[in-house]
């Protein structure tokens, strides 16, 4: 197995401006936090090699995108071939939570993924280190509302993180890697299968089992 070429997993980070996407990525990739990040323009590229369960070495290629809507039109150049998409919001900013669905839709339109309904998304609510009083009131209820109504009721994994205090960042991205890997294998299997038998049922079963695990 180790003789096989390295697995590259492409991950896209989306979310409103200022929710802390760049901070999350820096915390995950470089284990550091700074107040000195400039606004991301277009998208930044980062990589990190990690080991997912089963001891498999993977390389995450992460596109940390700009949050301003104006830049959405160039998503095509960055989203294509993605294996997992991280939707970020800020636990102190309700609008960023409400925008998750539109980020998801935009991603699906521009990335042109094969099976939109099965594509792995993960939700990260950042800045849990801030004072409780600043957080969105009855966050859990609103979050459930968003995931069940706007995000199609699919059970996407949700993590609450603090990029500043490095809380939950690592675990969140372990799940990202796992989901991306499954998606990647699914794509490969899908490609093989469709080449040979065009067996759609097989794909569906695999994807179902994967979502149960999460």
């Amino acid at each position: 197995m180790s003789g096989r070429k390295k697995t590259l997993l492409k991950v896209i980070i989306l979310g409103d401006s200022g929710v802390g996407k760049t901070s999350l990525m820096q915390q995950f990739v470089n284990s550091k936090f700074s107040h000195q990040y400039k606004a991301t323009i277009g998208a930044d590229f980062l990589t990190k090699e990690i080991t997912v369960d089963g001891g498999k070495q993977v390389t995450l290629q992460i596109w940390d995108t700009a949050g301003q809507e104006r830049f959405q039109s160039l998503g095509v150049a960055f989203y294509r071939g993605a294996d997992c998409c991280v939707l970020c919001y800020d636990v102190t900013n309700e609008k960023s939570l409400n925008n998750l669905a539109s980020w998801k839709d935009e991603f699906l339109i521009q990335s042109n993924v094969a099976n939109p309904a099965d594509f792995p998304f993960i939700i990260i609510g950042n800045k849990i280190d801030v004072d409780e009083s600043k957080k969105i009131a009855s966050l859990q209820k609103k979050l459930n509302n968003v995931t069940s109504n706007q995000l199609g009721g699919l059970n996407y994994p949700v993590f609450e993180t603090s990029a500043r205090d490095a809380i939950n960042v690592e675990p969140a991205f372990e799940v990202v890697a796992k989901m991306a890997l499954q998606q990647e294998e699914l794509n490969e299997a899908g490609n093989d299968v469709s080449d040979d038998y065009n067996d759609a049922i097989n794909i569906h079963l695999e994807s179902e089992s994967s979502s149960c695990m999460c």
Binding site: G18, K38, G42, D44, R70, K134
Partner: protein, 620 residues
Amino acid sequence: MGKKKQEMSQVYANSNNEFIFGENGGRGKHLSSFLKNLSLTGSSRQTSGSSLTGPGAESDADISSSIYGNLGYSADLSGATGGRASPSRDRKTSYSPTRSFRSVSGPVGAGYSHAESTERAGGGSPFSSNDRRSASHSRRSMKYTDLDDDWDAELDGLNEREKPQKTTPKLQSAPSLPPMVDSLYPDLTMAFSPQQQLSKESSIEPNNTTISNTSGVTTNKSDNFNSYNTSTVSSSKHLKFKKIMEPSSINIQDLRKLSWNGIPSELRAITWQILLGYLPTNKSRQESTLNRKRQEYLDGVDNIREIDFNETSSGGSNTPSTSNSSSQQLYHQINIDVKRTHPKIKLYSYAATQKSLRRILYLWSIRHPASGYVQGINDLCTPFYQIFLGHYLWQVQRAKISSASDVKRKEEEQNNSHLLVPGLFGDPSDSFEKDLLQSNDILQLDVMSFDPGRLSARVCNAIEADTYWCLSRLLENITDNYIHQQPGIIRQVNELNTLIAKIDVELLAHFQSEGIEFMQFSFRWMNCLLMRELSMPLITRMWDTYLSESPLGFNDFHVYVCAAFLIKFSDELKHKDFQEILLFLQNPPTQSWSESDVELMLSEAFIWQSLYKNATAHLR
């Protein structure tokens, strides 16, 4: 044959139009505002006088000369080439109400475009060193016919360009030269040398501790100013600028040409403002224009009722009512971006700076709803802000030094006051300014770490207003970079791709085999005009050239600069894989770059532009 002629004339007319709208489009607007000014200042007689036909030519010339300074340049040219009789012009004179304005820009534009095209082909503009300027009028018409000559001319230009750099050290005569080379007052620079400083201080205030303090910090200061005022700036360059600035109305073409090779730092503020068409070339109108524009800006800001510019809590304004209003959203975006603008430069961490930037950006955004605020525009306004603020500080420092100097120097300063941006320094009722003048650290202040909170509202507002208007002028030429879907940037990225295909096929092939798309790395180069890739001093140097190439410097020329930038790293990039390429280009090693690196890049860009710009024209 007759038909062909017609076609030709159409081509001619088209290209001419292109120049009018392309090269002089911005100035057309200035013209209109000029006409407006004229009527405001009560000399509208001229405007109506320009109502055309035969003698109209003279009044056109009058107007244009009062706008652009003496357009001796184009006037000469039209004289030489019979420009007045040029068909395009005649055609225009027979037109419509807007004619008065067109016919003015007509000859100017035509003259400029002729000169421009020969220069483009010949590589004259950037390199044509000023020594050659006097001869250039006659040469220009000759160059027209012989392209090979142009190449020679370009090489000459290159050689000539090398020379001043080599001779610079000799001119400056030693490393012990005062850190602040001052074109206006060559002898004033002496005040900055530590010894002089010491003796001066001691004569004023015979306090030992002050003296040692001062001399200690003076050394620091010399570092600041060395980096600010780079070694390539020779005193002869200062003198050339001074000469151009001298007449009551400035020849903008000469100023452009001279600026291409870099502007002395203390003249940068005023030169930028003139090149952008913000500050009139006609000296008698400079102060009144700035007063009016500054007031206009203030009125604009005062009319904004929905926003409290002191509000900086960026967090999610949680109440849905506020977060939903579009003005609040706009302000929120600007607010969080201003906080993270140049986080490593201390100047931008001060509340006063951030408030100024918020006001500038917010007003610009609501005045330009088609694009609105786009991330990256916050970066673009900082060079203006910083240069203008630095210019004010420098004026205060100058005054401080001269207050301790003799009468003769004071007189000289009076004579040179026209080289300063008007209306900033010298309000006797400004107590902040007085405090600043009397503060112990005034001579050590560096704009990069200065707190604008120490300035009066009057000065802050003026600097803000100047920044606002200059930013507006800059963005005028790259509007489609920031409108919906950013078509300007997409076009530029594609142009960069096409250009690399011509210049460095191997690199392009390598990118393709690695799956690199130009959009992935060069989007930011276009959106922020390389401001994320190069340090602030290098950017200001680059803008000298961009502004001298206005209005297309930030647009077309920038793509060539990006090509030169990319190709600088070509050899390294060819040995990298997908990941390495992207990581490299995201953080290109420019930390050690000096101005000469940037200047080389600009020169390469210029050569490529002269080679390829016209080469693609037939494809369009």
